[in-house]
């Protein structure tokens, strides 16, 4: 059976890279003796994949992984069994059984919500952010492995807000309440804005890129270490690519 599991990654675990996190979860599943399904072939591996890699240093309470198992039992016991094998800074939050024909979350992911926090000792003229977002286009130089090109990221910023409530009012489709971010957080952080950004393999905007563009627009120096990025939720788009986007959290049934 195909499972989609929502998880959080906080605290010092933010220093663990995506690849290392995968290895960590693989080992935890083995320790918990979960009946994980394996691929065929000479060196079988666990049928386990992650929705959208989180940047090193970022935290999250809305990440997803897909896992195929032979059996699950009671969902809460199942999650607890795995959580016991991991440190408290990685928590499996919920699990949903997906239809067999559902696409892997890696292929479904279309957007993610982020809270951008300012670290103590840093400042930024955040009151100008609405003006910045009011622009018709926001052109940035985007570097890929080989090329560097100019891209307008404005269309990839689906919605934004200066506080959690304002952010939510923009999202009629959001059924899930936003989690209070500071609760899972370390001290010395001030949330400054919320963003829903395009995420996934076809188009992807990291919150850092938005903040970098904002700083450039402000004419101030961009200091990457000033911001702590926290991911809140990850979405699929059920619109089928036509008309208005219809975002649903990945934990819901996402058969397109």
């Amino acid at each position: 059976m195909k499972l989609r599991i929502k998880f959080s990654k906080t605290g010092t675990m933010k220093f663990i890279s995506h690849l290392d996190l995968m290895r960590y979860v693989q080992k935890a599943l083995r320790r918990a003796e979960i009946p994980v399904a394996y691929s065929q072939g000479f060196s079988p591996h666990q049928l386990l994949s992650f929705a959208a890699p989180l940047g090193l240093g970022d935290t999250s309470e809305g990440d997803y992984l897909d896992l195929t198992v032979h059996s699950m039992g009671e969902p809460e016991e199942f999650l607890e069994k795995i959580n016991r094998e991991m440190n408290e800074e990685i928590r499996l939050l919920s699990v949903s059984v997906q239809e067999d024909k559902t696409k892997p979350s890696m292929a479904l992911v279309a957007a993610a919500d982020y809270c951008v926090n300012l670290r103590e000792g840093h400042g930024i003229a955040i009151e100008s952010f609405p003006e910045f977002m009011g622009q018709k286009e926001i052109v940035v130089r985007k570097k890929s492995k080989r090329t560097e090109q100019e891209v307008d990221i404005r269309p990839m910023i689906y919605s934004w807000g200066m506080d959690a409530d304002g952010f939510r009012r923009q999202q009629e489709e959001a059924e899930e309440p936003l989690c209070p971010v500071q609760k899972v957080y370390e001290e010395g952080l001030t949330p400054i804005c919320y963003l829903r950004l395009s995420c996934g393999s076809s188009s992807n905007v990291k919150p850092d890129l938005v903040m970098e563009a904002f700083c450039k627009w402000l004419g101030t120096e961009y200091e990457p270490l000033a911001f702590q990025i926290h991911r809140l939720e990850t979405y699929a788009d059920l619109s089928g690519g036509e008309g208005k986007k219809k975002f649903v959290p990945l934990k819901d049934q996402c058969v397109p």
Binding site: T12, F15, D20, K27, E89
Partner: protein, 625 residues
């Protein structure tokens, strides 16, 4: 968030911050107020290497079994963090508590290879502990060294308070008990060192004095007058007689990042019966002791369960000599193979059994066969007492080729005693013969082209081996041998199938200096460190020129330690250590080497090496214990 010693800005700017976090699966956390002794166990190299070391995992587990002790880990901060720590004056910290090393009672440093000596100084420096043991004050940790390089501790004598000679399982608890007693009694650092000097296997270098003749050779080595009756004249190596009744972790620590050994390690035996004359491990870990099969089965299961690792590796100097290897390996395959656990078997002699096992646990297309003939000719293999014959190698290769393998790795050493050009050429010829063996197979049975990788390292004479007296080649001689071999390989029929890898000569020279060094080297070591030498075994950070300057400034001629033949009578810097094998036995073996006589292995016949005093089973059976 867990308290970390390093602020976020640093962790986000250094390479692999997970090296410095601690809190890995199975790491041990205690309340520091509830323990009497805080022990910081250090492997002086980068995290991924240090975390792969079995010895630390054993001692970590053993120390933490004591309620009064909390043992934590420490590895060398990589160059990027090293710079930051110096710049921001952040003291070096242990992983678990993230507390400064200076707050600990003990700093234990394992000495696995000579090229980590500058990193030992880095650890002391960044921890804020004085370099010289004599300068340390009451609040400084007791710095204790162990591991194979402690069998000649003299180049490091100035920097350590104590050395532990031998296997940690036997005397460490007694040492900790004494420490606690002394603490409770309000005794001083010196009081403790005196107590420690009375324990078996413990060497307190400050209590001894070495005098050198005008020729630089050690003239006398003895306990200082003030410590006669307190410190021992000879330090006896510590050995665990029964390996199944002792400590072995069931819950090894699992790193977040990929370590060099990203697997569970099962030590099946200690010591080696073979007696290769160049091999220090084969002599200092004598006598051979096997672990009980049931013990190993139980530990294998427990460790796989507690770590979630997908691979288990059997560890020993010569796995094929473990008497119940077949039972163990087939048990592991049957029990865990179906659960996707991979089994790796290094140091296995290639024969029908090995090929059967390898075929079951590895992908033949991706794996290769490994032979370590160490010398190309039978004559030289007899000199070094390496029992492997050409026939065995060619038969093993043939069977493997028939089984579908087409990759072979060969390991040789250049510069062993009595080596001639014919011996070196024989390396090329043997490599070619193996390739020819492959092409004897009918074409339809071949799996593409054969690939042979022949690697050479340079021979470094080590203490407590029959070659401890011999002259080591100079750098130029090594390079000449390498060029000669390279030329000979190019003359072979299958030259295109043979790849040649070699080691760097300069690093080998340095290893040679420290391997058989004495106390006179301490000052040069410190100079080299102060010139920025660190991570010497990493070629990008190895600065031979700085080393040469450091030797020059301290009046050290490196060739005195390397390219000088010692006489039978010479007092060697490590003679005060009783490693079981006697000097008389080693000299006899040296003479037999020169005569090209092989010595049978311990299972065939006892050679009276001296390690029988440890009453291991094999020695009792052979009647020499």
């Amino acid at each position: 968030m867990r308290k970390l010693a390093l602020p976020e800005e640093i962790l986000l700017t250094v390479e692999k911050p997970a090296r410095y976090l601690g809190n890995e699966t199975n790491a041990v956390h205690k309340e520091k107020e509830t323990v009497d002794i805080r022990f910081c166990m250090c492997f002086p190299d980068v995290y991924e290497i240090g975390m792969s070391h079995l010895g630390i995992q054993i001692l970590y587990d053993m120390f933490n079994k004591r309620e009064d002790t909390w043992c934590e880990r420490l590895y060398s901060p990589w160059m990027d963090l090293d710079r930051v720590l110096r710049e921001k004056k952040i003291p070096l910290f242990a992983l678990e508590s993230q507390d400064p090393v200076k707050e600990f009672d003990f700093l234990g440093i394992t000495l696995q290879y000579e090229m980590c000596y500058t990193n030992v100084l880095q650890i002391l420096d960044l921890s804020g502990i004085p370099f010289f043991a004599a300068d340390r004050e009451e609040a400084d940790p007791i710095v204790i060294g162990g591991g194979p390089c402690a069998y000649n501790p003299e180049p490091l004598a100035d920097f350590f308070d104590l050395f532990y000679i031998g296997e940690g399982e036997t005397s460490y608890f007694e040492l900790l008990d004494r420490y606690r007693e002394n603490q409770k009694a309000g005794g001083s650092r010196r009081d403790f060192l005196k107590m420690a000097a009375g324990l078996e296997g413990i060497y307190v270098p400050q209590f001894y004095e070495a005098e050198y003749g005008e020729d630089g050779i050690l003239a006398s080595f003895q306990v200082k007058e003030a410590y006669r009756g307190i410190a021992k004249d000879r330090i006896k190596k510590q050995v665990v007689s029964d390996l199944s009744g002792t400590y072995y972790p069931e819950k090894p620590v699992v790193p977040f990042i990929k370590a060099v050994q990203d697997r569970v390690v099962l030590e099946i035996q200690r010591g080696c019966i073979r007696g290769c004359r160049f091999c220090q491990a084969g002599m200092i870990y004598r006598p051979v002791r096997e672990r009980d099969l049931e013990f190993l089965k139980q530990r294998a299961g427990a460790m796989l369960k507690s770590t979630g690792q997908e691979e288990i590796s059997l560890s020993s100097l010569s796995s094929s000599d473990y008497s119940r290897l077949k039972e163990l390996v087939y048990y592991l395959i049957d029990e865990f193979g179906s659960k996707g656990v991979n089994i790796s078997l290094p140091s296995l002699r290639i024969d029908a059994f090995a090929l059967d096992v390898m075929g079951k646990v590895q992908d033949i297309k991706k794996s290769s066969l490994t032979f370590a003939p160490e010398a190309g000719s039978q004559r030289l293999r007899d000199v070094i007492n390496k029992g492997l014959t050409e026939e065995v190698i060619l038969n093993g290769a043939r069977e493997a080729f028939q089984g579908g393998w087409n990759r072979v790795k060969l390991y040789f050493m250049l510069g062993q005693p009595t080596e001639t050009e014919e011996d070196i050429e024989a390396i090329a010829v043997l490599s070619d013969k193996i390739a020819r063996e492959y092409y004897k197979l009918p074409k339809d049975q071949r799996n593409g082209k054969v690939q042979i990788v022949s690697s050479t390292s340079f021979f470094v004479p080590k203490p407590f081996t029959p070659f401890q007296w011999v002259r080591m080649c100079t750098g130029e001689e090594f390079l000449e041998k390498q060029r000669f071999l390279s030329g000979k390989l190019k003359e072979q029929l299958n030259r295109k199938s043979i790849q040649y890898n070699w080691h760097e000569a300069e690093l080998t020279m340095l290893e040679g200096v420290f391997a058989r060094g004495d106390r006179q080297l301490g000052a040069a070591l410190l100079s080299a460190y102060q010139k920025g030498c660190m991570f010497d075994s990493w070629s990008e950070y190895f600065h031979y020129d700085r080393w040469l300057e450091a030797f020059e400034e301290n009046g050290i001629d490196p060739m005195f330690y390397t390219a000088r033949e010692r006489t039978k009578e010479e007092l060697l810097p490590w003679d005060f250590i009783d490693a079981g094998v006697t000097k008389a036995f080693l000299w006899k073996e040296y003479e037999r080497a020169l005569a090209g006589q092989v010595t049978p292995n311990c299972k065939v016949q006892c050679s009276g090496c001296g390690a029988g005093v440890y009453q291991a089973e094999i020695c009792v059976q052979k009647g020499r214990a």
